[in-house]
């Protein structure tokens, strides 16, 4: 996208805000603050693509990680499941899976947009403590966030219709739900037979023209791909053009931030980064918003440790990087008698939320939902590689089965809770560095037993549902511990108490008055498996508070 006509700010004169990261949160903050009249420099480590750059090229997107940061050795992220072990460079893909580039992971996501509910914000009070975890209430309620969920609905562009268990909403969806696909019909049929309730999946994809943007053409290349139509409601499609049009936002793509520098006052004085030509630069700013995602945000704060902040910035609580939550997941695959052709259209059109709330009678903490979708089997190469039933995986019979099943197959995908634990965290790898020379991100993660039990339970319900819908054949892999994921939550949690949280309820860090943090890291609990709607709502809300503070000269 063109940056030719955009405003340019000198490095040595303080802009009102530097925002680090241009994804689901950063893209919204850039739009809100720049259209609010503040000068903004938006730093993004990945490239500035535009809609016409997005292809249907599976080999490039999945085999070469075109949209997800390239091959692992570029980032050299490391992983371990226990703090006693030496973390290893992940050879298959980085454990913190995200999309560098303007718009961030909102460019390649599947765009399932569940709101949280009242219970997500005060569940600790309702259920009581869970030993060995940092399970806590949020310092804000659903009512506090509802106006901003509605803002996401209308400004980002969400289609859907209210479901039987949804929390209240102040305004209807701006667009009707997507037409139900065969997978959605079968989910609905199976759910009904079991006394469950399938509802329309809310999606950040336009089902009708909205805000001057064209609607979905049902090409089916959503999951992992960028949308060449601009119908997928990424911040690239919905927010970045408005930020640029404000004349107050300079987007600098290909710029990898490596340090936030604090001055004599203890406040952040400048943001240091490596520009696309490999030069070290420093942008002065009145205030900084870090919105780099739940893995890169704590990494930057920890990598910015200095004499005055030996444990990293904003880390007097020791909570920077802690309480990482990935959401738990499970899958069930099934084939049916007639053609579904589920490769057309958006991923999901129906979801079941009957098990959203935790029920002590089940014997473990946790809740979640499950939807029906083609999953990664919507596109031919990924279908062939990952969508086949167990058994012989080559030869004539394999080929025939593969040829038959493509049009007859669907997947149930479970998204569910993760508990906050000290042992699951983002730290700095002591050995490895990324291609920019920044010490690598190290993830330590082992799912809580309750998270695994809950995902297994929901997977077992999914198996019953496809049976009840008339599946001819079904198969699944057992739910096991995860070694990474795209949902990066909880690592700079918000709270009133500076001893047990990193940011206050207005997203200002407890320790540094001109440092704000807003992304998945702000979340206190994980929700039920689709966090981006909440990340975006938090960003709209944070922008209101940050703008008010700036106007009052309190940054």
């Amino acid at each position: 996208m063109s940056t030719e006509n955009q405003v340019e700010y000198p490095l040595d004169q303080a802009v009102d805000f530097v925002i680090v990261g241009s994804g689901s949160s950063g893209g919204i903050l850039a739009k809100e603050l720049s259209t609010g009249g503040f000068s903004v420099v938006l730093l993004e480590q990945g490239p500035f693509r535009e809609a016409k750059d997005f292809t249907h090229d599976e080999f490039s997107v999945f085999a070469m990680s075109e949209l997800s940061g390239g091959t692992p050795e570029i980032n050299n992220q490391t992983f371990r499941d226990d703090e006693s072990k030496v973390a290893q460079v992940a050879r298959d893909r980085g454990p913190a899976f995200y999309s560098p580039g303007v718009g961030g992971s909102s460019v390649h996501y599947s765009a399932n947009f569940w709101r949280l509910r009242e219970i997500d914000f005060n569940e600790r009070s309702v259920l009581g403590p869970i030993a060995g975890t940092n399970f806590a209430d949020w310092p804000i309620s659903y009512d506090d966030l509802e106006p901003y969920y509605t803002k996401v609905d209308w400004e980002i562009g969400i289609c859907g219709e209210p479901g039987p268990f949804d929390s209240w909403r102040s305004r209807p969806f701006p667009m009707p739900p997507m037409p139900v696909k065969s997978s959605g019909v079968l989910l609905e049929k199976g759910a009904k037979a079991l006394g469950l309730h399938a509802q329309a999946e809310p999606l950040a994809i336009l089902s009708a023209p909205h805000n001057g943007r064209a609607p979905c053409i049902h090409c089916g290349f959503c999951m992992g791909f960028g949308c060449e139509i601009g119908a997928k409601s990424s911040t690239l499609a919905a927010m970045i053009p408005l930020a640029q049009a404000s004349g107050n936002c300079e987007i600098r793509a290909g710029c990898a931030v490596y340090q936030l520098e604090t001055g004599d006052s203890g406040k952040i004085s400048e943001v240091r980064y490596i520009d696309p030509d490999g030069n070290q630069r420093a942008q002065k700013a009145r205030a900084v918003v870090v919105a780099a995602n739940g893995a890169e945000t704590p990494r930057l704060l920890l990598n910015s440790a200095n004499a005055a902040n030996p444990d990293g910035l904003a880390n007097s609580s020791g909570f920077v990087g802690r309480n990482l939550m990935l959401n738990s997941h499970g899958l069930v695959h099934a084939t049916f008698e007639h053609e579904l052709n589920d490769y057309h259209g958006v991923q999901c059109t129906r979801v079941v939320h009957d098990y959203y709330e935790s029920d002590p009678k089940r014997g473990f903490y946790g809740g979640g939902g499950f939807d029906a979708r083609p999953f990664l089997h919507a596109t031919p190469m990924m279908y062939a590689l990952t969508g086949q039933p167990p058994g012989k995986n080559w030869g004539a019979e394999f080929k025939d089965t593969m040829a038959h099943n493509f049009n007859h197959q669907m997947t149930i995908a479970v998204g569910a809770t993760s508990l906050a634990q000290d042992r699951n965290n983002i730290t700095i790898d002591p050995t490895h560095k990324d291609k920019w020379g920044r010490p690598s991100l190290r993830m330590t993660y082992l799912d809580h037993d309750d998270d695994l039990a809950n995902a297994r339970f929901l997977q077992s319900v999914g198996k019953e549902v496809v049976d009840a819908a008339g599946a001819l054949e079904q198969w699944s892999r057992p739910v096991g511990p995860q070694n990474g994921g795209p949902h990066l939550l909880g690592t700079c949690r918000m709270g009133e108490d500076p001893q047990t949280s990193v940011i206050d309820p207005q997203h200002r860090s407890h320790d540094i008055s001109n440092l704000f943090i807003c992304d998945g890291s702000s979340m206190v609990t994980s929700g039920r498996g689709q966090p981006t709607m909440t990340i975006m709502a938090l960003a709209f809300r944070a922008a209101d508070h940050i703008a008010a503070a700036a106007k009052a000269n309190e940054i």
Partner: protein, 197 residues
């Protein structure tokens, strides 16, 4: 998105066999990329740019057992060997030596098992299948299988999937705009809704 489903190395087989691959960036507009797919698959018998003729013969025979020619086309008709030739010379060029090493090792066992044969393509189809079965658990097999599937199903600009044979085989006619209903069950559902009104 369940991440373990999209891992390149995992679906390719042996752990770490393909570490260090170069990064490919496709910046052509989508429409151009689609247009290219119709005309870039190479003709059968074309020369290889990366593989030797002997390697090409072997990989053609090998990929043809992963996806055999039956009453429907297989890897051979889709020109999958040209996918090997393309990506081992470009996106996976740093894996070429490792791949060759594994293939040599694979071939080295043929002579002792099948008297009079030196290469995989020398064997009868049933002997080929028997030998491949013996090697199912090797990293070479994992890579061979993954490359065959990728070459058969990914865009023909990477050398395979000639005339979109792979897509036709499974009934994929996507890439463009589509209008619901897409399948049997949603068509029925729409019909039911209309009947109610």
């Amino acid at each position: 998105m369940k991440r373990d489903q999209v891992t390149r190395r995992r679906f390719i087989g042996g752990s770490g066999v393909l570490a260090g691959s170069s990064l490919l960036r496709i910046s052509a507009p989508a429409a151009l990329a689609f247009a290219e797919t119709a005309c870039t698959a190479r003709n059968e018998g074309a020369e290889f740019k990366t593989l030797t003729a002997a390697e090409g013969r072997e990989l053609d025979a090998l990929s043809a057992r992963i996806l055999p020619t039956t009453d429907t086309p297989g890897a051979r008709e889709a020109g999958v060997v040209y996918f090997f030739d393309t990506v081992l010379g470009d996106q996976f060029a740093d894996q070429l030596n490792g791949f060759r090493g594994m293939m040599n090792e694979f071939q080295a066992g043929i002579e002792s098992r099948f008297a009079g044969a030196e290469t995989f393509s020398d064997l009868s189809e049933s002997d080929q299948d028997a030998y491949l079965t013996d090697n199912e658990q090797t990293p070479f097999f994992g890579m061979l299988r993954a490359f065959t599937l990728m070459g058969f199903f990914t865009m023909s600009k990477y050398g395979g999937n000639k005339d979109n044979i792979g897509w036709k085989l499974i009934g994929f006619d996507g890439h463009g705009a589509a209008q619901p209903p897409f399948g049997y069950y949603d068509a029925q559902y729409m019909q039911g809704e209309q009947d109610e009104h």
